[in-house]
């Protein structure tokens, strides 16, 4: 924004700088002026780069029909949550933004997001997608994609899907590859990717209500959690799991045919071109079903939007269409959240595979307490795998630490 400053007229820059300071973010002083309160003729939408083109398709139809401008502001996906939280209260945020469902707790706690009414459309979506955006009986976002991890199998190296973890390891050994099963771990751990294995021991992160929503009561302590920890240590000692395997290393190794299995999501598939793949459920390690987390991507409406009507209209009547959802699917490779669009996308066996694994999955908790869990969870798992920590004691300490972090 400072590109046009003649060196002499320094105060010029000053004027701009001062207006920018009000927004506490100089990238967006431009948006602020265009999203003039009450002007009602322009809808500001934050998108990230991958989704930009797809949203443009829906926006174009909307613009033609309503004679309004839809202004897409491209941002880094990682920055969106923080910027949205910071800018909505100042009145400079967007009317709409893309986001993930697990931001919900933070967004509602801070009062920056408005509920939307899907009306009869609610039934058109895959159930878990709407469920994920629901809090206290209110829907806060329009879902457009669901994503979950699964077991990706290189059919050339393993002909059949393993039903248990031990079977998978055995199949990996039979294939004679350097790795039996690849899971991204790293020194900080990756509890998201390890979650299906954890649930197979009957240790979900939080206690769930009957309707699928989460309470703030931790459920991964006690005997099931300790059993999972002990299992992690055994796998680490046997060399099946290793904290040195980062995302890049895992993907690279699978691409080179160094393992028949990798546990991962649809975002990896692009890099496995040329391999014959099959998508299977994550094998159970502890006997119970292995349930991965489902993440749902969607659009949020700002609580301070002056264009709430336009924003809701755009979402409910333009984004919740097969056309828009399929365009977003093409852009991001995640299965659509609208049931009819998902069905169409299922023509692709990979997408169908992830969708069918997702049917047994659980939404990732979006309660604010979840924020206090990640930091302890991953590192503890990593320390147990690497042998740096004694499993049961480390797991119990982790539970205590999380509990005190939630309580504070």
């Amino acid at each position: 924004m400072r590109r046009g400053i003649p060196a002499v007229a320094v105060t010029l820059g000053l004027a701009l700088a001062l207006t920018a300071c009000g927004g506490s973010d100089d990238d967006n002083s431009g948006d602020a002026t265009s999203a003039t309160p009450g002007s009602g003729d322009s809808l500001v939408v934050w998108v990230d780069e991958t989704r930009q083109a797809a949203v443009e398709v829906a926006a174009e139809a909307f613009e033609n029909e309503n004679d309004v401008d839809v202004e897409l502001v491209v941002k880094n996906f990682e920055d969106i949550r923080t910027d949205f939280l910071a800018q909505v209260p100042t009145g400079e945020g967007p009317d709409l933004t893309v986001g993930a469902h697990d931001w919900l707790g933070e967004l509602t706690t801070n009062g920056v997001v408005a509920p939307i009414e899907l009306g009869d459309k609610a039934g058109d979506f895959i159930e878990v997608a709407v469920e994920a955006f629901t809090q206290d009986g209110q829907v806060y976002g329009l879902p457009y994609a669901i994503e979950n991890i699964a077991l990706i199998r290189n059919t050339a190296l393993a002909a059949e899907a393993p039903s248990t973890w031990d079977a998978a390891v055995a199949a990996g050994q039979a294939a004679g590859t350097p790795y039996q099963v690849l899971i991204q771990t790293s020194a900080e751990g990756d509890p998201y990717t390890y979650y299906p294995l954890q649930t197979s021991f009957g240790a979900p992160v939080f206690v769930q209500n009957e309707d699928g929503t989460y309470t703030s009561e931790l459920a991964m302590g006690g005997a099931p959690g300790q059993a999972f920890a002990t299992w992690l240590q055994a796998q680490g000692a046997a060399g099946v799991l290793s904290t040195d395997v980062t995302y890049d290393i895992a993907v690279e190794a699978f691409k080179n045919g160094e393992s028949p299995f990798i546990i991962g999501g649809p975002w990896m598939v692009d890099q496995f071109e040329g391999l014959d793949l099959s998508i299977d459920p994550v094998p159970s390690a502890g006997g119970e079903p292995a349930q991965p987390f489902v993440g749902v991507q969607g659009f949020y409406v700002s609580a301070q939007s002056d264009n709430a009507l336009l924003a809701n209209d755009f979402l409910v009547n333009y984004i919740a269409t097969d056309e828009a959802q399929l365009a977003l699917y093409e852009a991001g490779d995640r299965p659509p959240a609208l049931a009819s669009a998902a069905e169409e996308a299922s023509a692709d066996p990979i997408t169908a595979g992830f969708l069918s694994v997702g049917e047994d999955a659980v939404p990732m908790p979006s309660i604010p307490e979840m924020g206090s869990v990640w930091a302890f969870w991953g590192v503890t798992e990593a320390n147990i795998i690497s042998g740096a920590a004694e499993p049961v004691a480390a797991w119990d300490k982790m539970i205590a630490d999380i509990q005190s972090a939630i309580g504070s």
Partner: protein, 547 residues
């Protein structure tokens, strides 16, 4: 300017002859009294044009601030524009003409930021206390208005009746119209087309464009379905369909309370920025309030942090001091080596040595973190022949790695400044030392080094301050890990104070955000760095006097 007679009053003004475009002020005021003066110099027009631009931008800024309702910024803008005009058109403000731009930038980028941080440190700004009280109330009411379970959605038309907006819906084939004060009632002679009301006698149907122009009114409109408020009201979010909703929270502005309609619980506004009931339960959206020294108390008083804080403080000092010392020594050594005229191809070496300096440090740190991976890293695999040295996961080795990578990143800078300082050493002093019979070592120790230190010590101090807050390196290389085994907070052996702030305040997404606490901790860090810098600068000054 030989043609211009210098007047006695300006004789002492050193800038008088260098007045440039506008001329020295004192001269011009008297020039005007002399009608025989030639045409106005072009510089004046340039100045007026530039000032016009400055003023135009200033007015733009004022208008923008007004529109956004930022009164503080508006006042600051007005003040700055007035001051700028006064400074550049007055004849008595010559020094200010040079200082003002810098001063203005200092105000905006330093003073404002520091003051803002200071203010945040005394508030509870963070998750759950993100905005103003009005917005919190608005959000609570918005979040607690429920669609009546199992109720239908109605095709909805927005109408205007008697100056008030209203809704027309179709229920069971009958058209009903109502406004905010007038519950929905049947209208017999309304035209219904395709399940939607298209015409209502005595009311105008709003066009899409009119609706969009008044969308805030439309979305906030609640049309009761009957005289009994408990029956709920019809509202809409897209002006196409309406639905039946009832509030579960009621706001009483007089008593400053929120009442839960379903349970009758009363939540009172409290001084900590939230609504609480008698049992202490709070509603989830709060607002920002001043909390005094609470954040500082948490920073030092929370026992979960006390123990790691001491360890981290010690390591921060060790890291900053060792980083400066090692990079300086290596840079100095190389500078001396390549300053020797006997070294061939010095320019090539010098260029190569700047290389680490050219790579962005966060990228370099990331690369290094990959190269130091225990099983797959370049260092272990290629250089050490497959040895599994836990460079980044053993507490001591991780510290060593951090220092090593920082050495790699930092020595080119020291090399540059040492080369510069060495080349500017007066040759006669060295010559004199030689004549006096001093050997190479003695010359270096007693002449070169002291002179070098005088030139570089301010840079060493700033380098210390930089490394004290070298967040990028820590975050990209180890993320503070390996984690303390005995602490109950997510902090690790290589965390320095600034990365501790980042994690404690939840900015990394692993805890609830707390900008107030983060600001308080950064103020503590600022005080530490400022104190050390002040002391060292004072000592450097003594040092300078001795030499």
């Amino acid at each position: 300017m030989p043609t211009q007679p210098t007047l006695t009053g300006d004789a002492t003004d050193p800038t008088g002859s260098a007045g440039g475009t506008s001329g020295p002020p004192g001269v011009r005021s008297r020039e005007r009294d002399r009608p025989a003066r030639g045409p106005v110099r072009p510089g004046v027009f340039v100045k007026i044009a530039l000032m016009a631009v400055v003023n135009a931008l200033g007015v733009f800024g004022v208008l923008a601030a007004w529109r956004e309702g930022h009164m503080g910024i508006l006042a600051a803008m007005v003040a700055l524009v007035v001051v700028a005009d006064w400074v550049y058109f007055s004849r008595r403000t010559l020094p200010l003409k040079y200082i003002l731009p810098g001063l203005a930038f200092l105000l905006v980028f330093q003073v404002y930021v520091v003051a803002y941080t200071g203010w945040v440190a005394f508030t509870n700004y963070g998750d759950g206390h993100n905005s103003t009280k009005e917005q919190a109330i608005e959000a609570l009411l918005l979040q607690n208005e429920r669609r009546v379970e199992g109720s239908a959605t109605y095709p909805l038309t927005v109408v205007e009746r008697g100056g008030a907006l209203g809704f027309a819906i179709v229920e069971d084939g009958e058209a009903k119209v109502g406004t905010a004060d007038d519950p929905l009632s049947e209208v017999r002679d309304a035209t219904v087309d395709d399940d939607r009301v298209t015409e209502v006698p005595g009311a105008t149907v709003l066009s899409r464009q009119e609706i969009l122009r008044r969308q805030a009114e439309v979305t906030s409109l609640r049309v009761p379905v009957s005289d009994d408020p408990n029956d709920g009201w019809v509202r809409t979010q897209d002006a196409r369909t309406g639905f039946l909703a009832t509030p579960t929270l009621q706001w009483d502005p007089e008593a400053d309370t929120m009442t839960d309609v379903t349970t009758g619980t009363v939540y009172k506004a409290t001084s900590d920025g939230s609504f609480r009931n008698d049992e202490g339960q709070r509603l989830n959206v709060g607002w920002r309030v001043m909390v005094g020294f609470d954040n500082f108390r948490t920073a030092f008083g929370d026992e979960r942090y006390a123990q790691p804080f001491v360890k981290i403080l010690v390591w921060t000092f060790a890291f900053a001091i060792l980083s400066v010392v090692t990079t300086f020594l290596l840079g100095l050594f190389l500078a001396i080596t390549f300053n020797d005229t006997r070294v061939r191809g010095r320019r090539v070496y010098r260029t190569l040595l700047i290389f680490p300096y050219a790579i962005p440090s966060f990228l370099a740190a990331l690369l290094w973190s990959g190269m130091l991976n225990r099983s797959y890293g370049f260092i272990n695999q290629v250089l050490l022949g497959g040895a599994a040295v836990p460079w980044l996961t053993d507490p001591w080795l991780a510290k060593l790695s951090v220092l090593g990578v920082n050495l790699w990143l930092g020595f080119p800078y020291m090399f540059l400044i040492c080369t510069g300082a060495l080349q500017s050493l007066p040759g006669d002093v060295l010559e004199a030392a030689k004549v006096d019979g001093a050997g190479a070592w003695r010359t270096w120790r007693s002449v070169t080094l002291p002179l070098l230190l005088v030139a570089t010590s301010p840079l060493l101090i700033s380098s210390f301050a930089f490394n004290f807050n070298n967040f990028t390196l820590i975050y990209m290389l180890t993320r503070g890990g390996p984690r303390f085994a005995d602490a109950s907070v997510p902090l690790g052996h290589t965390d320095i104070l600034i990365s501790m702030v980042y994690s404690v305040s939840g900015l990394d997404g692993t805890a609830a955000k707390n900008y107030g606490l983060a600001s308080a901790l950064s103020i503590v860090i600022f005080v530490i760095v400022a104190t050390i810098s002040a002391i060292t600068f004072k000592r450097t000054k003594q040092f300078e006097e001795i030499s």
